[in-house]
Symmetry: C2
Subunit: 235 residues, 2 copies
């Protein structure tokens, strides 16, 4: 199941790393190897930072294994979660054209393996393989969509509706009565939805009281009334 063991040599790790990234998956083997050769593979323990706000910012990072959260920090130390990255996602793209300095934190949520490419190398690659730009554009488009949606939810909907919207996202296509697993702690979920642990806890409890859901494990939710949740979510 796991594609990559720690006793493999680094070259292989990098090649595998590159090969799982959607933006590269139309390239030939040789092209991937070429790109892999310009990259560095690094391991991060849970809680370690890939980068922090204020640090110089000149690499593209590709998550190969594990999970990373990106967030901003407010005055009181309160964090706003921007997004969570899974294997194949990349971060640090903003550095390619724009700021020299990050204003966000990227933290490994579990043990994580990341390949990084320096901005100058990536720029060379983009010129050599124009099709990659299109792929990156595609992913950017998706993220922009997500982020703009989040913006309107944050100011048009109350916490209850945002919570319901999020559940609907997780339910995706699945039909009546099924179980979903939160991809993060409720603390992080609260941060993502722009609220607090306490409030998320209250809202989920109220959904449970209404018989819409049942909270089994601390990250497991059994959906009992899809319709009611969807109705709450939309507008």
């Amino acid at each position: 199941m796991e594609c990559c063991h720690h006793f493999q040599n680094e070259g292989n790790v990098k090649k595998l790393c590159i090969s799982i990234v959607p933006i590269f998956n139309h390239l030939s083997q040789e092209e991937m190897v070429e790109i892999a050769n310009t990259s560095i593979s690094t391991k991060y323990q849970k809680g370690e930072f890939i980068f922090q706000a204020g640090e110089p910012y000149d690499h593209l990072y590709i998550v190969h294994k594990g999970r990373v959260k990106v967030y901003h920090l407010g005055d009181s130390g309160k964090e706003q979660l921007i997004r969570i990255l899974e294997p194949g996602d990349f971060l640090g793209e903003l550095s390619l054209f724009s700021k020299q300095e990050s204003d966000s934190f990227a933290e490994a949520m579990v043990e994580t393996e990341i390949c990084s490419i320096h901005r100058r190398d990536l720029q060379k690659i983009l010129i050599k393989f124009p099709s990659i730009s299109l792929k990156i554009l595609e992913q950017f488009t998706h993220r922009l969509e997500q982020t703009e949606k989040l913006v309107s939810q944050l100011s048009l909907q109350d916490v209850e509706k945002r919570t319901a919207s999020y559940l609907v996202e997780l339910m995706d296509g699945k039909g009546e009565e099924h179980e979903i697993i939160l991809p993060m702690s409720k603390k992080d979920l609260a941060s993502y939805l722009g609220t607090t642990r306490e409030t998320i806890s209250r809202r989920l409890s109220s959904f449970q009281d209404k018989g819409w859901i049942e909270q089994t494990g601390q990250r497991n939710i059994r959906i009992l009334n899809v319709k009611a949740i969807k109705k709450m979510a939309e507008q």
Copy 2:
């Protein structure tokens, strides 16, 4: 001063339209003409929609003249302003790779002239001129940055701080004591900052009471105490 009169032929309008767009401005004359020939120029009156939520979504639109606002609509009819476009900006990019259907409204704020290119034509252009992808990527990067910043402001800062932040953005580099002009009505500003007209009005009045600003015209603000505003803005 104005580059384009309505009695010009359409070809010229389109060429001018293309030529002012930053993402195209490194191309040769002939290349611009080629792109201009695949585009259509349209005029919109104030209040007219370029597109509405739910409509099919298959063009890239380039603002040539005027001003356009893009927003989402909540249940109660409350709108969340996503961004305002000036000449040279483009919209509809999300259609290129992603959704077939818009979930936002694009409305002309004044009389506006727009050139549109169909997605299939643009895709051809992107393949033919790879450097354009890089330019679009650059603009996307900037927008993503802006939008992510907005997200954290919406949930980490209260309205007072968000308002101060926005003023700081407008002040840009200018030193002590100068006048700034809001690029939109306070109503729209309220929408952009995720609050209401009334609250914006109160917050600006309170800034005025403190002697930080003076509200002259309805869109003119004389900045009196840059430091205090900046201090309020950051965290």
